[in-house]
């Protein structure tokens, strides 16, 4: 195996001012929406309650604070050159296949265990097996071990499904979805 030198610290990737620019709009919109909804909340005046205990008071203030911080982020992003013209790099989805696949498969798995009547161990086994086969395929193909990789993934998936179901239902007494 070859050694890859990784950066020592969990270095954070640089974020372009343009990303901050667009995210600031999200925070401003969210903050203002929170404040507006809070303003419309019941003030419990019919109970002779103090205006200072109104349910919307704190979220309203939080909304304004979020909007204010969003506005500061917006100004900062503009100062950092968010509006300067730049060459747009097209988004190539294939470059992000790992993220899209793991996210998609995991979402489908979670929705199936919530919404379907299929046995938990079976759904889990299928999910784990698929995950392992897909993410190990390139490596297995390079070393001409595809059938072995499929067998390993199947065994791993079945073991994971059965062991997790047994542990939760029999040991932790949790009824699985």
């Amino acid at each position: 195996m070859d050694q890859t030198e990784a950066p020592p610290a969990a270095a954070e990737p640089a974020v372009s001012p343009r990303v901050d620019f667009w995210s600031s709009f999200v925070w401003i919109a969210l903050g203002l929406a929170i404040a507006a909804i809070s303003l419309g909340m019941d003030r419990m005046e019919r109970f002779q309650a103090s205006i200072y205990t109104a349910p919307g008071l704190v979220p309203g203030l939080l909304g304004l604070a979020i909007a204010l911080m969003g506005a500061i982020l917006l100004l900062r992003a503009v100062n950092a050159g968010a509006l300067r013209p730049r060459r747009r790099r097209p988004l190539v989805l294939v470059e992000h296949w790992r993220l899209i696949f793991s996210l998609g498969l995991s979402l489908v798995y979670a929705l199936v265990i919530v919404a379907s009547a299929l046995p938990f161990w079976l759904v889990t086994a299928v999910y784990v097996t698929t995950f392992v086969i897909v993410f190990q395929y390139a490596e297995r193909r390079a070393s001409r071990q595809v059938p072995r990789g499929i067998v390993v993934a199947l065994v791993h998936g079945l073991l994971a499904g059965l062991v997790i179901q047994y542990a939760f239902e029999e040991l932790f007494l949790v009824r699985l979805p």
Binding site: A9, M44, Y52, G56, L103, V132
Partner: protein, 506 residues
């Protein structure tokens, strides 16, 4: 002092049963493995273990969780030394000298230093946990709505300031967390806020599914989005810690232990800041500055002592104020509430032995890491080389099932998914997650304290600034904010220089 020692001895005796010790060793081992695997964090480990220990008696469940927490913070040093990748963010500082030692063929010695530093750090933190908790508990009895309001604001502001590279983004994350805590029925009138008719939202966003999403699902996606790296691990020498290393750097050990514990007490800051601060302090004070970053025993010792001392430190505000000192401590706080323990100012009145039970749990955790530090090196090296494609789907299944297990609500699985995606997106834009978590934890306290305080004073703001503890907390919040405004920072710097000039001349 003697009361504390007797309380500690009683707690040790209380836990000295074979099955309980087995739980402690099991928790430490799980923590060690989770910590050693890059991508799996202590927060995720403690959150997942919370869901697995729901049916156990509270003392045993909390023992497992604390052992997992301590084990995970220690375990991160293994991958830092052997792979130059921090197993948890807390071990990032250990990469610098730990891996440099490994490259010199001294990986065993580095692991020994990490073991001794972690154990000593835990013990120093334990000492202050036992010493400070009753004192702070007594002080916390003086806290009213005004003080708790400023404490909640201070927690979010300082956590946002110190846990990321951009304080503004940290504060935004913290305030988003505070807002998330406002979703659902509020505590005074049972009024539904931001539920939009969704019945499941009335109960609010449960902390554990949200944490499992942010630190579990988001981590799974984060690890899987990058191509896997392959490693070789060089041969290593003996892992038995050398007494000489400890004796030679005893000042560094004590200093790092103190720094780690203090940073642990500060709400929401956590082990990574403790490790870096201890490392920086050790470098400043060292006679061998030039060795730092090139395999300095002192540097590695400082980082490892600092991050592990932070663990008991982070538990001090959990017990006394119900405010977490770090992200894993936030999970621990939630777990305590689930198990019927009520941490907070009244803990020394209602449940005084619990504090010493927690100290004893930390002690068992340190014994666990000593044992595994000496005997489990080869197995851990093998675990480090297990492909992530085999581990991550199983972690995700545990995230889903664990979120569901707490209240048997399918809705919590959806919460986990939403927070996982939110965590991934926000982290990709450099928003730190610790302030978000702290915000969710402190939101209810802030909400109730502000409304109660205003109601008591009939809208008069004077008590928020006029009471001594409230005023100090307000000043800390103000200073933290001003320190991040360049003009204010310059003015404060010039003012300080002006004030110190007579002393410098003298």
């Amino acid at each position: 002092m003697f009361d504390g020692l007797i309380g500690f001895a009683n707690s040790i005796w209380h836990f000295a049963r074979p099955e309980v010790l087995l739980f402690a060793l099991g928790g430490s081992l799980v923590g060690l493995i989770i910590g050693a695997l890059p991508g799996l964090t202590a927060t995720m480990g403690v959150a997942l273990m919370t869901t697995l220990t729901l049916k156990l008696p509270s003392d045993q469940a909390l023992l497992i969780l604390i052992c997992t927490y301590v084990g995970a913070i220690y375990g991160g040093s293994r991958s830092a030394i052997l792979l130059n990748i921090p197993g948890t963010p807390a071990s990032a500082a250990s990469c610098l000298d730990g891996h440099a030692l490994a490259k010199q063929g001294l990986a065993g010695r580095a692991m020994g230093i990490a073991t001794s530093g972690s154990i000593l750090g835990t013990w120093i933190g334990m000492f202050f946990l036992a010493l400070f908790t009753p004192i702070l508990g007594e002080m916390a009895l003086k806290f009213g709505a005004y003080e708790f309001f400023w404490l909640a604001v201070f927690g979010v502001v300082i956590s946002g300031n110190l846990t990321g590279t951009d304080p503004l983004k940290g504060w935004i994350a913290g305030f988003i967390g505070l807002f998330i805590a406002a979703i659902g029925q509020e505590g005074m009138y049972a009024y539904d806020r931001f539920t939009f008719g969704v019945h499941d939202l009335s109960g609010g966003i449960a902390l554990i599914p949200a944490l499992v999403g942010v630190f579990g699902f988001a981590e799974v996606l984060n690890v899987m989005k990058d191509k896997p790296q392959k490693f070789i691990i060089n041969t290593y020498d003996t892992v038995i810690p050398k007494i000489r290393d400890v004796l030679q750097y005893w000042r560094t050990v004590i200093r790092s232990g103190l720094i780690g514990t203090f940073i642990g007490i500060v709400p929401g800051v956590g082990e990574d800041v403790a490790a870096w601060s201890s490392y920086a302090a050790a470098r400043r004070a060292s006679k061998e500055k030039e060795k730092f970053g090139k395999g300095s025993v002192e540097g590695l010792m400082a980082a490892e002592t600092g991050d592990n001392a932070c663990v008991p430190g982070a538990v001090i505000p959990v017990l006394t104020l119900a405010v977490p000192g770090s992200a894993p401590a936030a999970v621990l706080l939630a777990a305590m509430l689930i198990h019927g323990v009520r941490p907070g100012p009244l803990i020394m009145v209602e449940n005084p032995t619990f504090v010493y039970d927690v100290v004893a749990m930390m002690f068992f955790a340190s014994i666990g890491i000593l044992i595994y530090g000496l005997v489990l090196t080869r197995l851990l090296v093998k675990i480090l080389l297990v492909p992530r494609a085999l581990i991550m789907p199983v972690i995700f299944v545990l995230c889903a099932v664990g979120s569901y297990a707490i209240a048997s609500r399918p809705f919590d699985i959806l919460v986990m998914l939403v927070f996982g995606i939110l965590g991934l997106v926000m982290r990709s834009m450099n928003y730190p997650m610790a302030p978000l978590v702290l915000g969710i934890v402190l939101g209810d306290l802030l909400d109730k304290s502000l409304r109660r305080g205003l109601s008591l004073s009939d809208g008069d703001l004077t008590p928020f600034f006029g009471r001594p503890i409230a005023f100090v907390l307000f000043l800390l919040v103000l200073l933290t904010l001003l320190m991040n405004i360049p003009v204010a920072r310059r003015v404060m710097g010039q003012g300080t220089a002006l004030l110190l000039r007579p002393f410098r001349r003298a």
